[in-house]
């Protein structure tokens, strides 16, 4: 008896039939397996390890998303960081996933398509939050009367020091925890990543978007705001990004989808339209402050 089960919707409409024959290529499988840090132990027992070219099974459906990520730019060998998200997106995902201990598959508890376990929350302080807070305070100091401005500047220095120390302590503790008894820092794709039932990803492009989204979380950017009024993600609930300029997981997700819609190749008309609509849902629902633009 399996721990969780799934139903497979039409393989044409989900895009799996389009990408499936492409992933069934041993050099691609070898490469994808290595660079994304798959842990084979978690992909046995129905998850597709022994049937890697079967697009009804989870592993092939994950590889489909990785193929889409890596080959959707016309000049896919150009992954320049100064290019656009369609070009650097796959490179970013690989770098982030490789940073973690392994990529797993799991039934999950039904609450998320993917779970990133690790120290990304504690790393944020040293990575950017302390500096961002410091710069903001410094900006505010400029509006102070010059005789008292030094108090403000001193406050900025002290808070940065405290913030950095807090970050160092929490990160050290967290790293020790996950490096010893905590079970490592991992990305776990749940059954909802592979199949739509129960609120999961319905097609190959939404799975690719999830990979980008999770990669951004590994890059030390948790969500920092509440969903706006009327949001389909649950108005007032946690999980939104404050603004487009915050450059969080929702921004990375929407930007990739948008570029894929605008310039994606080796895909289908239906898949690009799905990317556009999903980008618009994110743009209008996942930012506390509306970015002010949508995809035409």
């Amino acid at each position: 008896m399996a721990d969780c089960t799934y139903r497979v919707p039409d393989l044409n409409a989900s895009g799996d039939a389009l990408y499936g024959p492409r992933i069934c290529n041993q050099p691609f499988i070898d490469w994808a397996w290595d660079v994304h840090g798959f842990n084979g132990g978690y992909w046995q027992d129905g998850w597709g390890f022994d049937d890697v070219c079967n697009i009804r099974k989870p592993l092939a459906r994950c590889l489909n998303a990785m193929w889409l990520l890596n080959y959707s730019a016309e000049d896919y060998m150009n992954e320049d960081w100064n290019s656009d998200a369609l070009h650097w997106g796959p490179r970013y995902v690989r770098e982030q996933f490789k940073r973690y201990d392994d990529l797993r598959a799991d039934c999950g508890d039904g609450s998320a398509t993917a779970v990133t376990t690790g120290c990304q929350w504690t790393r944020q302080w040293q990575a950017w939050r302390c500096t961002a807070g410091y710069n903001e305070t410094k900006r505010e100091c400029r509006s102070w009367f010059f005789l008292f401005a030094w108090i403000c500047h001193l406050y900025a220095e002290v808070t940065r020091w405290v913030c950095t120390a807090f970050g160092w302590v929490t990160e050290t503790f967290c790293t020790l925890w996950y490096g010893t008894v905590g079970g490592g820092q991992n990305v776990t794709l749940t059954i909802q990543f592979f199949y739509p039932a129960g609120g999961g990803d319905p097609d190959v492009i939404s799975r690719a978007g999830t990979l980008i989204h999770e990669a951004r979380h590994i890059g030390n950017k948790p969500h920092d705001a509440q969903f706006p009024a009327g949001s389909v993600y649950g108005a007032g609930g946690d999980g939104a990004d404050s603004t487009w300029q915050y450059e969080g997981a929702w921004m990375f997700n929407a930007l990739y989808l948008w570029w894929f819609y605008a310039a994606g190749t080796r895909t289908s008309l239906a898949m690009r339209q799905a990317a556009k609509q999903r980008a618009n849902v994110i743009l209008t629902n996942a930012f506390a402050t509306s970015p002010g633009f949508v995809v035409p």
Binding site: R7, C24, F28, V232, Y233, L255, A274, V295
Partner: protein, 274 residues
């Protein structure tokens, strides 16, 4: 005594860590029934899920066939979009793209219904069919995506000069979900000759949604990008190898840094299947 307490604390910590570790799980397929359309609609859906270019001859010919069979296409699409159908989100999405591609006034009723109503269309699906639909926020995301598909169809009709479609666009801009409403307002804003309609739609917005009236269509090249994604890496770049060249590109991209992952799954002898 202190040592004992420390030891007990350590044991408790390790026990907690071990218990919170994820065990490996097993999974398996349950057969589901999904009726995939046949005929012109089925063919068009198959084509738009394989082809990426509207100037492709196969696309053009399947579109011509679709338009010739518009009555059948509309009734089949309505059946796919109805709550009692077993159609998945992706099939519904493809069916709506087909309805929008008709670019015919006869499609307006169905497009309006989808743009203004939560999906699936009534009657509600019975519980045994529910499993093929999504739940939670993703279900609402998908409903909005389908409504946006329908809205695209309406906007195309407006562009073709279909007057009733413009009235529907205005209705959607004043009564739809936040997603649909925002995009409909942006579509209205893109038609400066109907500035009066935009103002009416903006005036209908409740105070907490006033900001969406300022939303505009934009090109992806014109919105703020990530200046240097390397800044957002968790650690300095490791130089993880790029994907291997596609089978036809090996001569153009000779690569020598591809390692063979010895623990990667092997392709079974039956090869690709699904």
């Amino acid at each position: 005594m202190k040592r004992l307490l420390r030891l007990a604390g350590l044991i408790a910590l390790v026990a907690f860590a071990l218990s919170s570790r994820r065990n490996k799980t097993t999974t398996g397929e349950v057969q589901g029934v999904e009726n995939v359309p046949k005929g012109e609609l089925g063919h068009f859906i198959e084509v738009i899920n394989r082809i990426n270019d509207e100037s492709d001859e196969e696309y053009i010919s399947s579109l011509a066939q679709l338009r010739q069979a518009k009555n059948n296409v509309l009734s089949e699409s309505r059946a796919i979009l109805a709550g009692r159908s077993t159609a998945s989100f992706t099939l519904r999405h493809s069916a709506l793209l087909a309805v929008a591609a008709l670019r015919d006034g006869s499609a307006l009723d169905l497009l309006t219904e989808v743009a203004l109503n939560p999906q699936p269309l009534p009657p509600d699906p019975p519980p045994d069919i529910q499993a093929l639909h999504a739940h939670g926020s993703e279900a609402r995301v998908q409903h909005d995506m389908l409504a946006l598909d329908a809205l695209d169809g309406i906007v195309s009709l407006v562009a073709d000069g279909h007057a009733p479609a413009f009235d529907v666009l205005l209705r959607v801009a004043t009564t739809g979900s936040i997603t649909v409403r925002t995009v409909a307002l942006a579509a209205l804003a893109a038609r400066p000759e109907r500035g009066d309609a935009l103002e009416r739609a903006r005036a209908a917005l409740p105070a907490e949604l006033r900001h969406i009236g300022l939303t505009r269509f934009a090109s992806v090249r014109d919105v703020p990008q990530i200046r240097d994604p390397r800044v957002h890496l968790a650690q300095p770049e490791k130089g993880v190898p790029s994907a291997p060249p596609l089978p036809g590109d090996q001569a153009a991209y000779p690569r020598s840094d591809q390692r063979r992952a010895t623990d990667a799954p092997r392709i079974p002898k039956e090869g690709f299947h699904g």
